[in-house]
Symmetry: C2
């Protein structure tokens, strides 16, 4: 198949591109390097050094003999989006190219507006370009399990059958997202569902859980193929961050009681799920939702697992919760559709955590402890970011750079 990976320079976009390339697909990568720009804005950096896209692509060709097409540009530029689709003529478009950090979206008004405009307009442009150029292109869109929030009933995969006053219908699952970022994904989902209805487009919305891990079978083939690894308070995801904290002797920072429970998955399963979605496309006119995670854990459980796996002493520190979310809640979410398509999950165990700790240990000299604390407060309309120990007020949105991967910070 011909598969275009939008946001293909990011944490998940890059290893997804390599995985699909090695699996025999013709792969194109689109990025505007917004994710790299956020690092400049925040004064932080990936724990693992990452090469520039052009260098990565060169090394991949040397290592594998396989070529990746590259396109540099912004999805909010409709002309660019049309040009790329016309040139590459994909069978599937995998769309990671959104601002994907909840804390980043909650910094202040500018960052909230930037996140929603960037994500919603990029996806609208994509929908129009697909409808105009080739409505059979299958859009594989990265959503998030965070769209659902934490209802007191089971979470289904996108739709729920409701019987009400003696009548029954299958309706979109009600959404209770917890940040302006998560809201942007809900807006996208509604827009995509509508585009499938009126134009007969086909789309799979992957409501992904929190991803952990950094190495994949392809990225380990050469140091220049590594993908990024974020541990900071804005872009770092929970398990990755805990492993870095353990290695540098920092207490594991649990927000509140740690009862918050979320669906999670191994980075290698992300790649497998995306490929399964591409090779088993939605029908014309179909909008379908897969819940893309393999196991649920509470934040407290994850902290315990890292404490157990780490060959030394680790403290756990409970911080005042920066987010507005339930500390203790019911959580049970369906996730059978990808298993039905053949997904064989990598479940979280001591050896997974040991390999994450090893990655963190190899790069421990690059850790900036000041970047770890949560600096963005949900109840504030203008958080002050602290980087490298000194206060830096929230910058305005990065100009000309509007794209990042979806991996749910």
């Amino acid at each position: 198949m011909r598969i275009l990976v939008l946001g293909g320079d990011g944490y998940l976009g890059w290893p997804t591109a390599l995985h699909l390339s090695r699996a025999g697909h013709e792969v194109g990568v689109v990025d505007n390097f917004a994710r790299r720009q956020y690092d400049y804005e925040m004064g932080v950096d990936s724990l693992v050094p990452v090469c520039q896209l052009q260098q990565r692509v060169r090394v991949w060709e040397e290592v594998s003999g396989l070529r990746l097409a590259t396109f540099v540009g912004d999805l909010t530029d409709a002309t660019f989006v049309s040009r790329v689709l016309r040139e590459f003529r994909p069978d599937s478009v995998v769309h990671f190219a959104e601002q994907r950090s909840a804390p980043y979206s909650m910094i202040d008004r500018q960052h909230a507006v930037y996140t929603q405009v960037n994500n919603v307009v990029g996806t609208l442009n994509l929908l129009y370009a697909i409808a105009e150029i080739d409505p059979t292109i299958h859009l594989v869109k990265l959503g998030t399990m965070g769209e659902y929030g934490t209802p007191n009933i089971d979470i289904e995969e996108g739709f729920i059958e409701i019987t009400h006053r003696g009548r029954t219908d299958v309706l979109p699952y009600p959404k209770q997202p917890g940040s302006f970022y998560h809201l942007s994904k809900v807006h996208d989902s509604h827009n995509i569902m509508f585009a499938c209805r009126i134009w007969g487009l086909r789309s799979t919305d992957l409501n992904q859980g929190i991803v952990y891990g950094q190495e994949t079978p392809e990225t380990v083939l050469h140091p220049d193929l590594a993908t990024r690894f974020d541990y900071d308070g804005v872009f770092g995801t929970v398990l990755n961050r805990f492993c870095v904290q353990a290695v540098v002797g920092h207490p594991l920072t649990v927000y509140g009681s740690g009862g918050q429970t979320r669906g999670m998955l191994d980075i290698r399963d992300t790649l497998a799920c995306v490929e399964l979605a591409c090779t088993n496309p939605a029908e014309p006119g179909e909008y379908r939702v897969f819940n893309q995670f393999t196991e649920s854990f509470s934040v407290g459980q994850l902290a315990e697992m890292v404490v157990d796996a780490f060959p030394g002493r680790v403290e756990v520190e409970h911080l005042e919760p920066p987010r507005v979310e339930k500390q203790e809640h019911y959580y049970r979410a369906a996730h059978t559709k990808l298993l039905d398509l053949g997904l064989v999950p990598h479940l979280l165990n001591q050896s997974t955590i040991a390999s994450l700790l090893a990655v963190a240990d190899r790069h421990r000299d690059r850790v900036d402890p000041a970047a770890i604390a949560p600096t963005v407060q949900w109840r504030s309309t203008a958080s002050t970011l602290f980087t490298a120990g000194s206060p830096v007020s929230a910058g305005s949105r990065p100009t000309g750079t509007r794209e990042a991967e979806t991996s749910e910070a």
Copy 2:
């Protein structure tokens, strides 16, 4: 109370401002005249001549002795929004200031993006300004019954109790909006609900039905106080349009079978509902939804009522449906919350239609028959607009003018 009416120069915003003013409230009006700009873009005009805002405000003072504060500017300009809230210090903000036509949002990509960015960013700016300046300000937001679509179960007011696999929760009612405009209102609703949750804001979301009528007790006091009356294929709403068609001898244009059923209300009830929402505010932190309509009718029923009321012969013409919507469907929607607050509805009857026909007849010389046909096709990504008999391609979005009233075209 001190009440700020955003979009206060529009079809409903203007009579709402007058109604609230006469009811004894201190009223401020905010507008950027985007609705007037759309007329230039489309080459159409209100059937009833409307004065400029400054003249209307002068005449209102002469007629009533009451002053309206005016603010000219754009909600997508956050500095302007903050300045107005700081200067006027409202108790309630009534927010009509959005692009409100479904066909307009479906013209092409630019109009879809404009509608969603304009509406979502304007509302985000407002939420941030309220949170920062005075979180006790009550936001009365105009939404639409079209957010719900036409589910096969009863529509409730914003939330629904769902029992699923033995557990129960009250969740946001699932949304199935039918245009990029309706989608923008769904996005707004989710954003507002979240802002109430994290910042303790208070908001009432008025999911309004289709409004008919043109005269209110205040607008009839002087010709210069008239509000606009749209009959064109893009901004005209169904009953208003039918009355104009009857008067000029044009067949009533029913889209498809005419089985599409919608909640509707008299323009005078809109004013009463908005006042009831303001004077009975939501609690701090509360996001509540009122379904703001009084009766449901199918399009075919409305056509029949106009045929019966018109003192002459009227044809009904069934057009190929331009929208993607169910022609025949179940429709039953709750609307008791405003009645519980004391709303006494003006129900639709022969005399209401007679008075609408009289308005149309007074201005029949101003009707442009070429403006009536539906020119925007939902299944097309780029509709060509026909105005005054000659094709005009869809313009790009109006610059610097981004605001209009919500009355559900």
